[in-house]
C-alpha cells in the first residue's frame, strides 16, 4: 500500500466506501476531538463489472440480534466446520451445503477480494418493473409536443416486460386505461380534492368488494389475479396503443383567462399515482415519473394561486413567513413521499419551466424515495431530452442502471455505533445494539430504505466511537462495519450485496500522525457538506454557515501547525491542504446560499448534492471554470465529456463577457475581484464580480488568523 491516496481509491473501487478517517481514534473522547466525525460515504451499488454475483443465499450469524453475514473477516474453523462472527463473536455452524469447505476450497464470501459480494436470491414472485408516467398537460404546445416525443421514444427504451401506466393532469387528473379497443377510456379525478389511497382504489375499481350474488345473474368467472391490468400494461403489449394515446394527448382544454395561471393539479395527480401503485403493487420496483411544466396551482399541494399578479414565493417571502401555501404543500408532498417510500416506490421529478415549479415543496418526493430531480427551462431542450434518455441508460453489463426497493442494513463491531445516515433514504426504525442515541442525519435506526438507486447513489453514514478512553483497544485491533443491501435488480431479481470493511484503531494521543495521514479530505468535505445541507434544510442559513466555520476553525486548530497568534506561521499538512478551500466553496455554493437562487433552485442543487458524489460531480458546472476543476482534481476532460457523464445533464450555459448569462459563471468563480477590492487586486482582469462575498484569499487569511488566535 503505497499511499493513503491509493488506498482510498482502491477501497472505493472495490467496496464503494470512503471514510473520513481511515485510521480510527480509539475512544469516544478522542473521536470527538477530531472535529470531522467518523463517517463514510457508501455507494451501495457501485458498478463492479468484475464481480460476478453468486447464486445462493448468504450465511448468517445465528445470534438473533446480530445476523451478520459470513465474510472474509470471520475466523473459520475448517475442521469443525465452524465460523466465528466478527461482530458478536458468536460461533456458528456452517450450513450442510458448506460441508466440503476447506482452506483450499473456500466459498467466495470468505476470500479477501470478496469483501464486497453480491448474492442472487429467490424470494417471492418476480414482478416486472413499473413505470408510471404522470404528465402535466398545462404546457405550451411546443413543450407538450417535445415531451410527448420524449415519452414515446422512452417506450422503446423500457424493458419489454415492464409495466407502464399513464396519468395526465391539468385542471383534472386522468388515469388512462391502456387496453381499450374502439374507445379510449380514462378515469377522471378533480384536482382540488385529496383522496385516501382507499378512495382512489375504490374509484379506480381496484378494490374487490364482496359482490353479493344477484339473483338470476350468471356466475362470474373468478376475477383475474392482476386486477390493475387496466392501468398498468406490459410495454410490449400496448406500446402501439400508448404511442397513439400519447400522440393524441392535447393541452389541457380548460380555458385559462388572461392574468391567470392554468389550474394545475400536481398534488392530487401525484397522490393518485401513489395510491394506484400502493394498492396494486406494494413493495415492488416502481418509478413514478412526474413531468411538470409549472407550479401546482390548485388543490392539496398547491404552491401558488392562479392569479398571475401574485408571484410564486421567493426566499424573501419564506423568511418573512409570507409563503402562504408552502407549509401545507410541503406537508402534502412529505406525506406522499413517506407513503411512497413505505411502498418501496420512487418518484422522479422532471420540472421544465422558466419560472419555479414548486420543487422546494416537492423535493421530499425525490429526496426520500431516491428519485431523480431534473430542472430545466423547457422540455424542448437537449438538457431535458438527453437527461431523460439517460435515465434508461444501461451499464457496462448491459443492465439498466437502476435498482429498486433497497434495504440497507449497517452492522458495526462493538466499539462503534451508528449515528445516522444522510442520503435519499428513509428510516426503517430498526433499533438495535449498534444504534447510537446521538443522531446525525436520519438516525435511531440501523436500517434504511432506499426506494430508487443507481450505481452512483451514495449515502453518508455517520458513526460514533463508543469505546471509553480508559478501555484501550489492544494493539492491532480493528473495527469492522458490514453493509447489507437487499434490493430489486433491474432484471427484477432480488439481490443482496454485502460489503464488510475493517479499519485500524489508533490512539489519538500517541498516534495522531497516523490518523492525520489517513484523513480523506475529499470524503470529509462531502460528509461535512452533507451535514451542513441537512442542517440548512431545517435551520437558518447563517447558523449553518457559522457552524461550518466553527468546525473548520476547530479542525485547523487541531491539525494545523502554527505559532500562537501568528497567522503567517500557519501550515496544514498535505492531507488537509485542500479542505479549507472546499469549505470556502461550499459556503458560497447554492447548496447553502440562497442568494441569487430561487427556492426551487436551492432545492434542486441540494437534492443533487445529496445523491451525487460530490468529489466527482462537484459543482464545477461551468466548463469554463477550469481553475476550480483543477482544485478538485476533477478530470480535466473537456466540457462535452462532463456533459456526457453527468446526471442530470448540467445546465450548459454559453456566455460571453457582459452577456446576461454571465451571471451564472460569475456567481461561481472565486470573487477575487469585487467592488470592494477592485484596486487591491490589480487590474489583470476586467469586470469586477459584484458580490458581498470575500475572495478565497481573504477567506484563507481570516481563517488562519482565527485558527491561531489564542482567544478562540
Amino acid at each position: 500500500m503505497a499511499t493513503y491516496l491509493e488506498f482510498i481509491q482502491q477501497n472505493e473501487e472495490r467496496d464503494g466506501v470512503r471514510f473520513s478517517w481511515n485510521v480510527w481514534p480509539s475512544s469516544r473522547l478522542e473521536a470527538t476531538r477530531m472535529v470531522v466525525p467518523l463517517a463514510c460515504l457508501l455507494t451501495p451499488l457501485r458498478e463492479r463489472p468484475d464481480l460476478p454475483p453468486v447464486q445462493y443465499e448468504p450465511v448468517l450469524c445465528s445470534r438473533p440480534t446480530c445476523k451478520a453475514v459470513l465474510n472474509p473477516l470471520c475466523q473459520v474453523d475448517y475442521r469443525a466446520k465452524l465460523w466465528a462472527c466478527n461482530f458478536c463473536f458468536q460461533r456458528n455452524q456452517f450450513p450442510p451445503a458448506y460441508a466440503g469447505i476447506s482452506e483450499v476450497n473456500q466459498p467466495a464470501e470468505l476470500m479477501p477480494q470478496f469483501s464486497t459480494i453480491e448474492y442472487i436470491v429467490q424470494r417471492g414472485p418476480q414482478t416486472p418493473l413499473i413505470f408510471l408516467y404522470v404528465v402535466d398537460t398545462c404546457l405550451e404546445e411546443e413543450d407538450l409536443q417535445a415531451l410527448k416525443e420524449s415519452l414515446q421514444m422512452s417506450l422503446s427504451l423500457l424493458p419489454a416486460d415492464a409495466l407502464v401506466g399513464l396519468i395526465t393532469f391539468g385542471r383534472m387528473i386522468q388515469v388512462h386505461e391502456l387496453s381499450c379497443e374502439g374507445i379510449s377510456k380514462s378515469y377522471v379525478f378533480r384536482g382540488t380534492k385529496d383522496l385516501t389511497a382507499k378512495q382512489i382504489q375504490d374509484m379506480l375499481g381496484l378494490s374487490r368488494p364482496a359482490v353479493p350474488i344477484q339473483q338470476g345473474r350468471p356466475l362470474q368467472a373468478p376475477e383475474q389475479p392482476v386486477i390493475s391490468s387496466r392501468f398498468l400494461q406490459p410495454v410490449h403489449k400496448i406500446d402501439m396503443n400508448l404511442t397513439d394515446l400519447l400522440g393524441e394527448l392535447q393541452r389541457d382544454p380548460w380555458p385559462v383567462t388572461q392574468g391567470k395561471r392554468p389550474l394545475r393539479s400536481t398534488g392530487v395527480a401525484l397522490s393518485i399515482a401513489v395510491g394506484l401503485l400502493e394498492g396494486t403493487f406494494p413493495n415492488t420496483g416502481a418509478r413514478i415519473m412526474l413531468f411538470t411544466g409549472g407550479p401546482p396551482t390548485q388543490g392539496p399541494g398547491m404552491v401558488v394561486g392562479d392569479e398571475l399578479k401574485t408571484p410564486i414565493r421567493s426566499w424573501h417571502d419564506i423568511e418573512k413567513d409570507n409563503a402562504r401555501f408552502m407549509k401545507k404543500a410541503t406537508k402534502h408532498y412529505e406525506t406522499l413521499a413517506n407513503r411512497t417510500a413505505t411502498n418501496g416506490h420512487c418518484i422522479d421529478i422532471y420540472a421544465c419551466a422558466l419560472d419555479q415549479t414548486g420543487l422546494l415543496e416537492m423535493k421530499c418526493c425525490a429526496n426520500l424515495t431516491g428519485g431523480h430531480m431534473v430542472m430545466g427551462d423547457s422540455f424542448n431542450t437537449s438538457l431535458f431530452k438527453q437527461t431523460f434518455q439517460r435515465v434508461f441508460n444501461k451499464g457496462l453489463n448491459g443492465e439498466f442502471r437502476m435498482a429498486f426497493g433497497a434495504n440497507l442494513e449497517v452492522k458495526t463491531s462493538r466499539e462503534l455505533k451508528i449515528a445516522g445516515a444522510i442520503g435519499p433514504c428513509v428510516s426503517l426504525n430498526v433499533k438495535g445494539p449498534c444504534v447510537s442515541e446521538n443522531e446525525l442525519g436520519i438516525g435511531g435506526t440501523s436500517q434504511w430504505k432506499i426506494c430508487g438507486l443507481d450505481p452512483c447513489t451514495t449515502l453518508a453514514i455517520y458513526f460514533e466511537v463508543v469505546n471509553q478512553h480508559n478501555a484501550p483497544i489492544p494493539q492491532g485491533g480493528r473495527g469492522a462495519v458490514q453493509f447489507v443491501t437487499q434490493y430489486q435488480h433491474s432484471s427484477t431479481q432480488k439481490r443482496i450485496r454485502v460489503t464488510t470493511i475493517a479499519r485500524n484503531w489508533a490512539d489519538a494521543q500517541s498516534q495522531l500522525q497516523h490518523i492525520e495521514a489517513a484523513f480523506d479530505q475529499e470524503a470529509a468535505a462531502v460528509l461535512m457538506a452533507r451535514l451542513g445541507v441537512y442542517r440548512a434544510e431545517s435551520e437558518e442559513g447563517p447558523d449553518v454557515l457559522r457552524w461550518l466555520d466553527r468546525q473548520l476553525i476547530r479542525l485547523c486548530q487541531k491539525f494545523g501547525q502554527y505559532n500562537k497568534d501568528d497567522p503567517n506561521s500557519f501550515r496544514l499538512s498535505e492531507s488537509f491542504s485542500l479542505y479549507p478551500q472546499f469549505m470556502f466553496h461550499l459556503r458560497r455554493s447554492p447548496f447553502l446560499q440562497v442568494f441569487n437562487n430561487s427556492p426551487d433552485e436551492s432545492s434542486y442543487y441540494r437534492h443533487h448534492f445529496t445523491i451525487a458524489q460530490w468529489q466527482k460531480a462537484g459543482y464545477q458546472d461551468m466548463p469554463e471554470y477550469e481553475n476550480f476543476k483543477h482544485l478538485l482534481q476533477a478530470p480535466l476532460d473537456d466540457a462535452q465529456e462532463i456533459l456526457q457523464t453527468r446526471f442530470p445533464m448540467p445546465r450548459y450555459v454559453h456566455t460571453e463577457h457582459g452577456g446576461s448569462q454571465a451571471r451564472f459563471l460569475l456567481s461561481k468563480v472565486n470573487p477575487s475581484q469585487t467592488h470592494n477590492n477592485l484596486y487591491a487586486w490589480g487590474q489583470e482582469s476586467g469586470a469586477p464580480i459584484l458580490t458581498d462575498d470575500v475572495s478565497l484569499q481573504v477567506f484563507m487569511d481570516h481563517l488562519k488568523k482565527l485558527a491561531v488566535s489564542s482567544a478562540a
Partner: protein
C-alpha cells in the same frame, strides 16, 4: 247517523238544459242568466231537449232558478224523509265527511237506496278484505241490459225518472237521472263545437276543453293558454269567502295550438326592448288605455300614467284607439311574444342555444333487458329530429352523452376524434364534469363519432355485473355540464332502480304500508333525503330541466327520484316491468315526442293582476324562490301552472279583473323571449254571476293540484274532508244565495257546476287520495306528480276517463263515437269499448262481442282466440281495423303521455284493473259510487243550510 243524506237524497235528473226555456218566467231578474247553459243567454237555448214534464215545470215555476233542481218530486223526498225520522239528527262533521257515504252509511240507508239486491255489504263496507267480485256481478246483471238503451237515447231515460222516483222507496236511484258528464260534454260539443270562438269579450266563458273549435285571439288569451275557474270574480273578499269558489287560472303558456290557428306574433322593439309600465312593470297589452292624444297611456293593472316612448307614439282615432291598433299584436291580441334584450339575459349575455344530455343507466338490469341497446339505436335516428326554429335548417341544440351505474362515464364525441373518448368519474360524492370541449356537440357535425359511440355503449357494458346505481350525482353531473357550457338544457335520464350505491341522494326502501291512513302517510310523498331539494334548486338556478324515464320493477321511491323532475319542469315517464317487446313502442313514442317537443328553457313566469287581487299560490312543475317568481328550468307545451288568486281589496265591476302572465324564456335556438298572455275577467257583486261563469274542469284541475299539494303536509283524511266540505260549501252557498227557496231536501246544483260532484268523487277516488295497501306507493307518487303539471284537458280526462263504444260504429263516418258514462252499467256483453285516461288505454271486449268485429280487429275467429298479450292492434286491411285504429290515434293525439293499449276480456282477471277506471261505480278500493257520493254531498249541503 248519516242516513239522512241517503234518505233524503232526491233523485236527480238531466233535465236542466230545458230550464233555459223557462228562464223568462223566473222570479229574480238576475237569476234569468242562470238558465243559460254557459252563462251566455244566447247560446243556452240551442240545445234541443225533450219537453219538461209536468212535475218539473211545477217545480221550476215554484221558483227554483237552479238549472239543476228540476224534476224531483217533493212527495218522494218527503216520503223518504218520513221513513227514518230518528236518524235525522245532524251527524258530527268528522263522522260525516270522512268521506262519503260508505264509511258512515248505516244499513238502513242502504236499504232504502238499493233494495234487495244483496248489495248492502259491498256498499257499506270498504274493508280491504272485501272481495269485489260480488259487488260487480250482480250490478252487471241488473243494469247491464239497460245500458244500450240509456246510452242511445239518453234523454229518454228521463221520463223514467219521475216514475221511478215516485215509486216505492225500494226502487234504486236511476243513474240516468243524475247529472251526466257525458251529457254536458256532448251538449257543449253540439252547441259550440266546430265554431269560431273569438276572444273579444271580457269575462266570456269559453267552450269546454272537450269541445273542438277554432279560437281567434281578439284581445284575450286563448283558452288553450289560460282557463279560469270562474270568469267572473266576486267583487269583494267577503263574497269570495262566502262562496268558497276557488279563484284560479290554469295557465299553459306553451300550449300547442292547432295548425289552423295563428301562431304567436313576435314583437321586436330592438334595443328599446318591451314597453312596460313604470310602476308595476306590466307589459304593453290591450289593457293599456292611451290618453292625451296618444302621448301617454294608463296601465290597466296599476293605473299608473306612463309616457309613450317616442318610437312607439301613434295618434288616436275618434274612439280614442290608436290608429295602429290592429297592426300591433301587443295592442290587439291577448297573446304574443317580445324579443327580449340583454337586460333579460343571465349576466347580460345572450344565451347559448340549449343542450340535451342523454344519461343512460347501464347497470346490469338495463343491459340485460335490452333497454340500453334500444335507447342507443333509437337515438341514432332521433337526434336528427331535435326541435328547431321554423326558419332554420338544423337544430341549434347540442347533445351530450353520459352513462352510469355507480360511477359516471362521460363521453368526448368531438367531431375531429377518430373514436369517442370515455371519461370515468368515480368521485360520485362530489361529482364534477371532466371535460368541456367535446362533451356537448352538434349532432350533424359529430354524427360519425356519436354513432360510433352509440354502437359501442351496449357492447361496452355487455358483461357488466354492476347492479347498484347512483342517481343524484347523475343529475348533478348533467347540471354541472350545462353550467360549465353556460347554457340551459334538458337531461334525459333513463333509470331503473332504487339508487342504493354509496353516494349523495342514496335511498333505501322506505315503502311502509303501515303508514297508510296515519299522520305519517304524508312522508311517503316527501323526498327521503334533503339533498334532492337542494339539487332541484341548483338545477333551476342553472336552467337544467330533468326528464326522467323510469323502468322500475319494484319500489324506486318516486317521491324522491321525481322531485327534481317536478321542480325543473321536467316530465316523468314510468314503465313498470319494462319488457322490450311489449313496452318499446310506448317508450319510444314518449321519447320521440319529448325530444321533438317545443320547449322554453330557463324560464321565469310572472303573473300580474289589476288592483284588488293578486296571485297567492302556484301549483305545477315549478320552483318558487320567492312568492312571485315562478321559475321553471324548462316549460313545454304540456305543462300548466295553476294560479290561485285572492282579494286584496274590492274589485271594480267596470274595470274587471285583469291578468297578465309573462314568461321570460330561452327559445330552442337560444333567443331570449317574453311570452305574454293577457286575459280579462268580469267582476260582480252578485254571486249568481260568479256561479254562472264557473268552469268545472278548471275547478277540478285546481282542486286536484291543491289537494295533491296538501297531502305533503296534511293527513290524507283531512285533505279528503276539505274537498268534500268545500264542494258542499260551494253548492250550499249557491243554494242559499242564488236559488229560489225550496225544500231543504232538494238538491239544487248550479248549471255550470252540475257535474262537480261526480268529478270531485273521481278525484277522491284517485289512487293518490286513496290510502290502500293494494296501490303501490310509487304509483301514487307518480300520479301525484303527473297531475301537478297537468292542464285542464289532461285532468279532465285523467279523472273522468273516456269510454267509447266501438261495437256499433258508423264505419262511413270519420267521427269518433260519442263517449258513454264510466260505469259498469254502460258495458254490455255484446259490446267492445275503448277506455282511455291519458295514461292507460284499454280495449274491453264483452264475451259476446260480434265475431266480425273480432275478426276485423284481431284477425282471429273468436273471442277465445284473442291474445291479451298484444299492446298494439294489428294493422289489418279492413274498415273495422282502420276505423278503430284511427280512433285510437285520435284519442292519443296531443296527449302528453303515450298510452299503452291493454286488451281486456270480460270476466278475465285483468278486468279488475280496467274496472278501476269505471269511475262512476263504487271502486274496489272503497271509493264511493257517484250516486252515493251525490247523496253524501247533498246531506252535507242540507246540514250547512240548516
Amino acid at each position: 247517523m248519516s242516513q239522512q243524506g241517503y234518505v233524503t237524497a232526491p233523485p236527480y235528473s238531466q233535465s236542466q238544459p230545458r230550464m233555459g226555456g223557462f228562464s223568462a218566467g223566473f222570479g229574480p231578474p238576475n237569476s234569468s242568466l242562470h238558465y243559460g247553459h254557459y252563462g251566455d243567454p244566447n247560446s243556452s237555448h240551442a240545445a234541443p231537449q225533450p219537453g219538461p214534464s209536468a212535475i218539473q215545470s211545477s217545480h221550476t215555476s215554484s221558483g227554483h232558478p237552479a238549472s239543476f233542481q228540476g224534476p224531483q218530486p217533493l212527495p218522494l223526498t218527503q216520503h223518504q224523509m218520513a221513513l227514518p225520522p230518528g236518524p235525522q239528527i245532524p251527524p258530527p262533521a268528522n263522522n260525516f265527511s270522512g268521506l262519503c257515504a260508505q264509511s258512515s252509511l248505516p244499513n238502513m240507508a242502504r236499504q232504502d237506496g238499493i233494495p234487495g239486491s244483496g248489495l248492502p255489504n259491498p256498499n257499506l263496507q270498504q274493508l280491504p278484505g272485501q272481495t269485489p267480485g260480488p259487488g260487480y256481478h250482480p250490478q252487471q246483471g241488473n243494469y247491464g241490459p239497460q245500458m244500450a238503451g240509456s246510452q242511445l237515447s239518453y234523454p229518454g231515460a228521463f221520463p223514467g225518472g219521475p216514475a221511478q222516483l215516485s215509486g216505492p222507496p225500494q226502487k234504486r236511484l236511476d243513474p240516468d237521472s243524475i247529472p251526466s258528464p257525458i251529457q254536458v260534454i256532448e251538449n257543449d260539443k253540439s252547441s259550440r263545437g266546430g265554431q269560431i270562438y273569438a276572444t273579444n269579450t271580457r269575462g266570456q266563458v269559453p267552450p269546454l276543453v272537450t269541445t273542438d273549435c277554432l279560437i281567434q285571439d281578439q284581445g284575450h288569451a286563448s283558452p288553450r293558454y289560460i282557463r279560469c275557474t270562474t270568469y267572473c270574480f266576486p267583487s269583494t273578499s267577503d263574497m269570495a269567502k262566502q262562496a268558497r269558489i276557488p279563484l284560479a287560472a290554469v295557465i299553459q303558456p306553451f300550449a300547442t295550438v292547432p295548425q289552423n290557428e295563428t301562431p304567436l306574433y313576435v314583437v321586436n322593439h330592438g334595443e328599446a326592448g318591451p314597453i312596460r309600465c313604470n310602476r308595476c312593470k306590466a307589459y304593453m297589452c290591450p289593457f293599456m288605455q292611451f290618453i292625451e292624444g296618444g302621448r301617454r297611456y294608463q296601465c290597466g293593472f296599476c293605473n299608473c300614467i306612463n309616457d309613450v316612448p317616442p318610437f312607439f307614439f301613434q295618434h288616436l282615432d275618434h274612439i280614442g284607439r290608436r290608429v295602429d291598433h290592429y297592426e300591433r299584436p301587443e295592442l290587439s291580441l291577448g297573446s304574443y311574444e317580445y324579443v327580449a334584450t340583454l337586460d333579460y339575459c343571465r349576466n347580460n349575455k345572450p344565451p347559448n342555444p340549449p343542450a340535451y344530455i342523454f344519461m343512460i343507466d347501464v347497470s346490469y338490469r338495463n343491459i340485460n333487458s335490452g333497454l340500453v341497446k334500444l335507447i342507443c339505436d333509437e337515438l341514432k335516428t332521433l337526434l336528427d329530429k331535435l326541435p328547431r326554429e321554423e326558419q332554420e335548417e338544423s337544430s341549434a341544440i347540442r347533445v351530450g352523452f353520459v352513462t352510469y351505474n355507480k360511477v359516471l362515464h362521460f363521453f368526448n364525441v368531438k367531431s375531429n376524434l377518430a373514436q369517442p373518448q370515455m371519461m370515468v368519474v368515480s368521485d360520485v360524492g362530489e361529482v364534477f364534469v371532466p371535460l368541456l370541449d367535446g362533451f356537448l356537440v352538434n349532432f350533424q357535425e359529430s354524427r360519425s363519432v356519436v354513432n360510433n359511440l352509440l354502437d359501442q355503449i351496449p357492447e361496452m357494458f355487455a358483461d357488466t355485473n354492476e347492479s347498484e346505481t347512483i342517481f343524484a350525482p347523475v343529475i348533478q353531473a348533467g347540471m354541472e355540464a350545462l353550467k360549465a357550457a353556460e347554457c340551459a338544457g334538458k337531461l334525459f335520464i333513463f333509470h331503473s332502480s332504487l339508487p342504493t350505491a354509496e353516494a349523495p341522494g342514496k335511498l333505501r326502501n322506505r315503502d311502509d304500508k303501515k303508514l297508510l291512513n296515519t299522520d305519517k302517510e304524508k312522508t311517503l310523498f316527501q323526498p327521503q333525503v334533503n339533498s334532492y331539494e337542494s339539487l332541484a334548486r341548483d338545477c333551476v338556478a342553472n336552467g337544467c330541466c330533468v326528464n326522467l324515464f323510469l323502468f322500475p320493477n319494484q319500489y324506486v321511491d318516486i317521491a324522491s327520484l321525481g322531485l327534481v323532475t317536478m321542480h325543473t319542469g321536467g316530465t316523468l315517464y314510468k314503465y313498470n316491468n319494462f319488457q322490450l317487446n311489449s313496452d318499446s313502442p310506448q317508450f319510444l313514442t314518449d321519447l320521440r315526442r319529448d325530444i321533438e317537443k317545443k320547449t322554453g328553457f330557463d324560464a321565469i313566469m310572472r303573473v300580474r293582476t289589476s288592483t284588488g287581487f293578486r296571485a297567492t299560490d302556484f301549483f305545477g312543475a315549478i320552483y318558487m324562490n320567492n312568492t312571485t317568481d315562478v321559475e321553471m328550468a324548462a316549460v313545454d307545451c304540456d305543462k300548466a301552472v295553476t294560479v290561485e288568486f285572492k282579494h286584496d281589496d274590492k274589485l271594480n265591476e267596470d274595470s274587471g279583473a285583469l291578468i297578465q302572465c309573462a314568461v321570460l324564456y330561452t327559445s330552442i335556438s337560444g333567443q331570449r323571449r317574453l311570452r305574454i298572455h293577457n286575459i280579462g275577467l268580469n267582476c260582480s257583486t252578485q254571486l249568481a254571476d260568479v256561479y254562472k261563469t264557473c268552469e268545472t274542469d278548471a275547478l277540478i284541475n285546481f282542486f286536484a293540484k291543491s289537494a295533491f299539494k296538501a297531502i305533503l303536509s296534511q293527513p290524507l283524511k283531512a285533505v279528503r274532508e276539505i274537498l268534500v266540505s268545500q264542494t258542499a260549501h260551494m253548492l250550499a252557498c249557491y243554494r242559499k244565495n242564488c236559488a229560489s227557496p225550496s225544500a231543504v231536501s232538494q238538491l239544487i246544483l248550479p248549471d255550470a257546476m252540475k257535474v262537480l260532484p261526480v268529478y270531485v268523487n273521481c278525484l277522491l277516488k284517485s289512487s293518490v287520495l286513496t290510502g290502500r295497501p293494494e296501490i303501490p306507493t310509487d304509483e301514487r307518487a307518480y300520479h301525484r306528480q303527473l297531475v301537478m303539471s297537468m292542464g285542464v284537458a289532461d285532468t279532465q280526462l285523467f279523472f273522468y276517463p273516456q269510454l267509447l263504444p266501438i261495437h256499433n260504429l258508423d264505419l262511413k263516418s270519420d267521427a269518433v263515437p260519442a263517449a258513454v258514462r264510466c260505469s259498469e252499467e254502460r258495458l254490455s256483453e255484446g259490446g267492445a269499448f275503448i277506455l282511455a285516461n291519458g295514461l292507460s288505454m284499454f280495449l274491453w271486449l264483452g264475451v259476446s262481442t260480434p265475431p266480425e268485429l273480432i275478426q276485423g280487429l284481431f284477425n282471429v275467429p273468436s273471442f277465445a282466440h284473442i291474445s291479451t298479450e298484444a299492446t298494439l292492434l294489428p294493422d289489418l286491411a279492413n274498415t273495422y281495423s282502420k276505423k278503430i285504429k284511427s280512433i285510437v290515434e285520435h284519442i292519443q293525439n296531443q296527449k302528453p303521455y303515450t298510452m299503452k293499449l291493454m286488451i281486456v276480456k270480460q270476466r278475465e282477471q285483468p278486468e279488475m284493473l280496467f274496472r278501476q277506471f269505471l269511475v262512476e261505480d263504487k271502486s274496489i278500493h272503497g271509493g264511493a259510487s257517484y250516486v252515493d257520493f251525490l247523496c253524501c254531498v247533498h246531506k252535507e249541503i242540507c246540514q250547512l243550510l240548516n
